[in-house]
């Protein structure tokens, strides 16, 4: 199975009509014929048109996208998988959404840091232009503002780690909830400060939002002393941090030592799981019906890993339950989601092999 965009939200009427029209179009979908008139009308997957690209700093730009169907919504701080086609091949990558939810014009934006050796960022830096088409995947991520938002948040960001924080601050501003928010942002120099104009403007309009820049070329990395000096009551504040792993692990230590780790929230992509380190479920056996392989999965071992150990060549992508590349159709049996511990699985369901383990015997069309 191949990674695909999100399912667009369409009216029940259109859905019913399309289902009826399948009688005539089978094995294709009515969408495949609708796309002959305009590819953006197809509901196979959510696509987006680039509205504009704005340069933020020397090596970052913001890409503003108009979704082909009504934006399904997101929570401030979440990320979105975006697909683009480069030389005939579609690539996917996750980017934090920098726009706040519920934008009145229905637009979403991401901010891309240019990495010369990367695949996607050179595309956004040089080839993408207004009118280019991108594919929009599902919105994911648990690093987001709680509801109701905290009264006294502290934001700590560094470099391009500011992107999810930007969405949170915009959201708070839109909800008029920036009453007592402190934001410490680290950048190499003033020229590398992404969103500086926007944030400074915000600080002028909202006295409750206090922005402190911290240029590492002058002052070094953000540390305990900096935080203590700017925000003496940091131990009581709900804190959201996003930046390089070095900074985040140092702050995690600080919070563990002196503060309340419960109050510290951080951007983290889920770790790779399914290697047997978690003690959930019973394990079981898997029959891969297409590859003709039988595998045994110990407790906590995902279907993907178990199958690979048994010698099957299986599709995979992120190996952490994001990208859906590894999915196969469940023919029989029950599964345990290794992330949540829940037991689930209906016959015919498309399931992710990288985050699910068999609970007893399972048959899968892979």
């Amino acid at each position: 199975m191949v990674e695909t965009g999100a399912k667009p939200k369409i009216s029940p009427l259109r859905e019913r009509l399309q289902r009826a029209a399948r009688t005539l179009t089978t094995p294709l979908l009515p969408d495949d014929y609708i796309a002959l008139m305009n590819p953006l009308w197809s509901t196979r997957e959510l696509t987006g048109t680039i509205e504009r690209i704005r340069r933020e700093t020397a090596d970052t730009s913001t890409v503003v996208i108009r979704p082909s169907f009504e934006w399904p919504g997101h929570q401030a701080g979440q990320y979105l998988r975006i697909g683009v086609e480069i030389n005939g091949i579609r690539h996917w990558r996750a980017y934090s959404i920098t726009s706040d939810p519920g934008h009145p014009d229905g637009l979403v934006s991401i901010t891309v840091k240019h990495v010369e050796t990367g695949k996607m960022s050179p595309y956004f830096a040089r080839h993408a232009e207004p009118g280019s088409i991108v594919f929009l995947g599902d919105v994911e991520g648990t690093f987001c503002l709680p509801d109701p938002p905290p009264a006294q948040p502290l934001f700590i960001s560094a470099g391009s780690g500011i992107t999810p924080i930007m969405s949170m601050i915009r959201e708070l501003a839109r909800r008029e909830s920036l009453d007592d928010a402190i934001h410490i942002h680290g950048a190499r120099s003033a020229d590398d400060f992404i969103f500086d104009e926007m944030l400074r403007g915000l600080a002028e309009r909202h006295p409750g939002y206090r922005l402190h820049d911290h240029f590492s070329s002058v002052k070094g990395r953000i540390g305990g002393a900096t935080i203590e000096e700017i925000c003496p009551d940091w131990r009581q504040r709900e804190t959201f941090m996003s930046g390089p792993e070095g900074l985040m692990s140092a702050l995690r230590e600080l919070w563990k030592r002196e503060g309340d780790p419960e109050l510290l929230h951080q951007e983290s992509f889920q770790p790779v799981i399914g290697l047997g380190e978690s003690e959930v479920g019973s394990g079981g056996t898997v029959r891969f019906r297409v590859t003709d392989v039988d595998a045994t999965c110990e407790q906590g071992v995902s279907i993907l890993v178990g199958g690979e150990q048994a010698g099957a060549v299986l599709p995979f992508g992120c190996r952490m339950g994001i990208c859906h590349t590894c999915v196969g159709r469940l023919a029989a049996g029950r599964l345990r989601d290794l992330r949540t511990g829940d037991v689930h699985g209906e016959q015919g369901e498309m399931v992710r092999t990288c985050v699910n383990a068999p609970e007893g015997h399972v048959e899968i069309d892979l």
Binding site: L28, R44, G88, R90, A332
Partner: protein
């Protein structure tokens, strides 16, 4: 005597600067190659594949997308024209268009997408894991019986269920049974109802009989075939005829005709792939512990091409390049024409045959075999010798020096 002959041939090859060993007509040419040669040859074949894969990109994507779009437009137009099927010109036009659309969809598009030839694009709408085709066989069952069983165990009698499709005696190695006396008759029925033959073939009756297939899997597959069959039948024989109102019968006949045309055509192309006289079959012992190089040789000599125009190749799903297809089942079919000269060059260097012939000759030899082997006995037919490049006429030489003709994608109608 034979040894002397081999010796002479061997010397001749050496004089020609060819690596080819002595080659005895009719014997598996693999036996004449040393293990080093087989390994070397495997690398050469692999390089042809990898060079193409390194080069895949935008223009290949444009090719398959344009073809898919062309098929869909043609299908829509033909169905619309057939709404007026009570007028005979509309009937003829619509039926022709629909037949061509179904052939393109099944062969150059469906067969090749399901092989994963376009998976490198990472496009979920043109991908072997999501595709389904306009034929009775459900994609998942076919991918197992064809992509896995047939393409892995190609022409190994007893393992490749496509040798005679478990109902025909197509190779003298298959033991004779009185039921084969009827094969000239059911050969014709198979041609007409080919899509249904393929759908049922995927079930693998032999495995079911021997109890090698879990009952639940058999039930699931039967249900999948039933569901697919119902959708196909409702579409072609109920829904579209209904759109023609009280002249529904004409449209029904048109759809039936288009399905027959597609069935007979795909039957003819597919039977020419492995059953002409030139191809070799193998015993299970011959393929035990086979190296990658030996696998390539088995694919090479187990298949046969059909000569034809670029349009013919597209209409056959480029299965007229059956040799190239069997060497590289996952390579975009539009590239087969381009690599054919390189495959021939390898054949020439190692003294291997490159099987090809005109459509009528290939189909004729298949039909002859079906008739002959309906009766007991039969011997393997004479096999062609090592491939030799035909002498180039001076005019053709000049043409080849022109702007990289081989790089062009084949034309499609």
């Amino acid at each position: 005597m034979a040894t002397q002959n081999q010796q002479q041939q061997h010397e001749q090859h050496q004089r020609n600067g060819s690596k080819a060993p002595a080659f005895v007509n009719g014997e598996n040419p693999l036996k004449k190659l040393t293990p080093e040669q087989i390994e070397e040859l495997g690398k050469e074949f692999q390089k042809i594949h990898d060079d193409v894969y390194d080069d895949l990109g935008e223009s290949d994507a444009v090719y398959i997308r344009s073809l898919i779009e062309f098929h869909r437009r043609l299908a829509v137009l033909s169905r619309i024209v057939l709404m007026a099927s009570r007028y005979w010109p509309a009937w003829v036009l619509g039926t022709t268009g629909l037949s061509v659309a179904k052939i393109l969809e099944n062969m150059e598009i469906g067969h090749n997408v399901l092989h994963g030839q376009w998976d490198w694009m990472n496009d979920p709408a043109i991908h072997s894991s999501t595709w389904d085709w306009d034929t009775a066989s459900p994609a998942s069952a076919w991918k197992h019986s064809h992509n896995y069983v047939h393409h892995t165990f190609t022409n190994i009698v007893g393992k490749d269920k496509d040798v005679g499709y478990e109902i025909m005696r197509i190779d003298p190695k298959q033991p004779w049974h009185p039921v084969y006396l009827a094969q000239p008759l059911y050969n014709i029925l198979l041609a007409l109802f080919f899509e249904w033959g393929v759908a049922v073939h995927d079930l693998d009756f032999e495995a079911i009989r021997k109890g090698e297939k879990p009952k639940k899997q058999v039930r699931d597959e039967l249900r999948a075939i039933g569901l697919k069959a119902r959708r196909q039948i409702v579409k072609d024989y109920v829904a579209f005829p209904a759109l023609s109102g009280k002249h529904w019968k004409k449209t029904l006949y048109a759809n039936l005709t288009a399905n027959f045309v597609r069935n007979v055509w795909s039957y003819a192309i597919i039977f020419c792939g492995h059953f002409p006289d030139q191809t070799y079959t193998f015993t299970e012992e011959e393929a035990v512990d086979e190296s990658r190089g030996a696998w390539y040789v088995r694919q090479l000599i187990g298949a046969a091409n059909i000569d034809g125009s670029p349009t013919f190749h597209v209409m056959s799903g480029n299965l007229s390049y059956q040799v190239e297809h069997h060497l590289y089942p996952d390579m975009p079919s539009s590239r087969y024409a381009q690599i054919a000269p390189k495959v021939k060059a390898v054949c020439e260097r190692y003294g291997l045959p490159y099987n090809t012939g005109p459509f009528r000759k290939q189909l004729g030899s298949v039909q002859r075999t079906i008739l002959r082997l309906a009766f007991p006995g039969g011997r393997p037919r004479p096999k062609p010798g090592p491939y030799r490049r035909p002498p180039e006429p001076p005019a053709a030489k000049a043409d080849q020096n022109g702007a990289g003709r081989a790089d062009e994608l084949p034309a499609f109608p």
